[in-house]
Symmetry: C2
Subunit: 223 residues, 2 copies
DNA sequence: CTACCAAATTTGTGATCACATTTTAGTAGC
DNA sequence: GCTACTAAAATGTGATCACAAATTTGGTAG
């Protein structure tokens, strides 16, 4: 687990240690460095991140409140395990919120933004062809959040981020076991719909992207 | 501010002090005991709640992460002020999520549940007639969350709770200044739609309830 | 009476400590 | 070889302390 918390945001500046720890652990979760069910200790993280337990406590509390981590009944912090019910709910919530975020972004997408999105989608497609899991996850995340951010959302975006965090551990587990080659790529549909400025088609494309993506996970395995 | 944190959950048991503080402050926000813009100090709360600053720090961090409180650029914790953009986003997110929650609850609503909802709505109507702000807020909250909880949601419910927390301070401010008599009551439509088992009408009623409720606020005043 | 500045106080952050509870190891018994 | 029990180590929670940064205060100059 030593390498798990290496930081990919080079030279990024944080106002407090707690903030640094928060983003470091968050990043590690998104990149699938933690397995579902794995227990995290405050002192262990503190030693790894070279700080006192105090900032770690607050960072973990924050991640727990976002449901990125879970508090066991013995007060131990763990990486949440997934259930079919939770996955269904996350799927429904993602559809509801990401459709809204995409719709909100639509008026801001000009030719320049559209090209930026096409470039990001090319990275996703390339990663899929090369079966590069790490690259796929990063590129897919960049693609979606770049689109959503164009509508300058604040509240909705943080809700969506919380939902992505919750599926990350399971998603990586499935990818590592079954690879990414069978994943559908609905981004083409989405880009066309955006170019057409069709709210209805955008919503449908997003819904399909999410439901097929999470559906393939729940079909493969649920522990 | 002394009386603000009196606790209405009698004898409720909490596993940790931090948890107690969290719910106490959360409750105070929902009941409108904090004004937008008001600054909160860790030591002040700790003294009021008779504990060390430590549990307060974690509780405030948690509430900040839920956007119920805000971190100023000087690291001070404040009650968030509302902007038209934020209100629009909250409104859109609430429509998206609460429609989903209501739809998810629909299959669970039998005759017994429907009567329970009617009883809760009667309390809302009574509070409106008596212009009892405190009662109205509590009853309205009970009505909505009782409905949503019938679908046994976990993730979606906590997202909705976060959104309600964010509008609570402004809502109370407006109520105290303008009263609650002019508020629309769309619960009748909603109850009829539920009884008819019409997903489409349920969604429409919820959307109207939210948009009219928050719309009346933004129309009245936004500081 | 107002604007400004420096001293004094207050505040948030991070570290360390104490303690009760939980987890882990090791051993004895079957 | 496996389970039940106990002792040791590790863990989360809450309290206290130190310190730098921010806020408030008090007094002075205009």
């Amino acid at each position: 687990m030593n390498m798990a918390l290496e930081f990919n945001h080079p030279q990024e500046e944080f106002r407090t240690t707690q903030e640094r720890v928060y983003f470091q652990v968050r990043d590690a979760i998104l990149r699938g460095k933690f397995l579902p069910g794995h227990a995290i200790t405050i002192r262990g993280l503190a030693a790894e991140l070279d700080c006192s337990p105090m900032p770690v406590r607050e960072a973990l509390r924050r991640l727990t409140s976002e449901r990125a981590l879970e508090l066991s009944d013995t007060r131990r912090v763990t990486v949440p395990t997934m259930t079919p019910e939770k996955l269904d709910e996350i799927c429904a919530a993602r559809v509801a919120l990401e459709c809204q975020a995409a719709e909100q972004a639509l008026p801001f997408v000009q030719e320049e933004e559209l090209q930026q999105l096409r470039a990001l989608d090319a990275r996703v497609t390339a990663a899929l062809e090369q079966k590069d899991i790490e690259q796929y996850v990063t590129a897919n995340l960049d693609f979606h959040f770049t689109l959503y951010r164009m509508g300058r959302p604040h509240i909705i975006l943080s809700l969506i981020e919380s939902l992505w965090l919750q599926t990350a551990p399971l998603q990586h587990l499935v990818f590592q076991r079954f690879g990414v080659q069978e994943l559908p790529d609905r981004h083409e549909d989405l880009l066309d719909a955006i170019a057409d400025r069709s709210v209805e088609r955008v919503r449908r494309a997003i819904r399909q992207d999410i439901e097929e993506g999470l559906g393939s996970i729940s079909a493969e395995e649920l522990l």
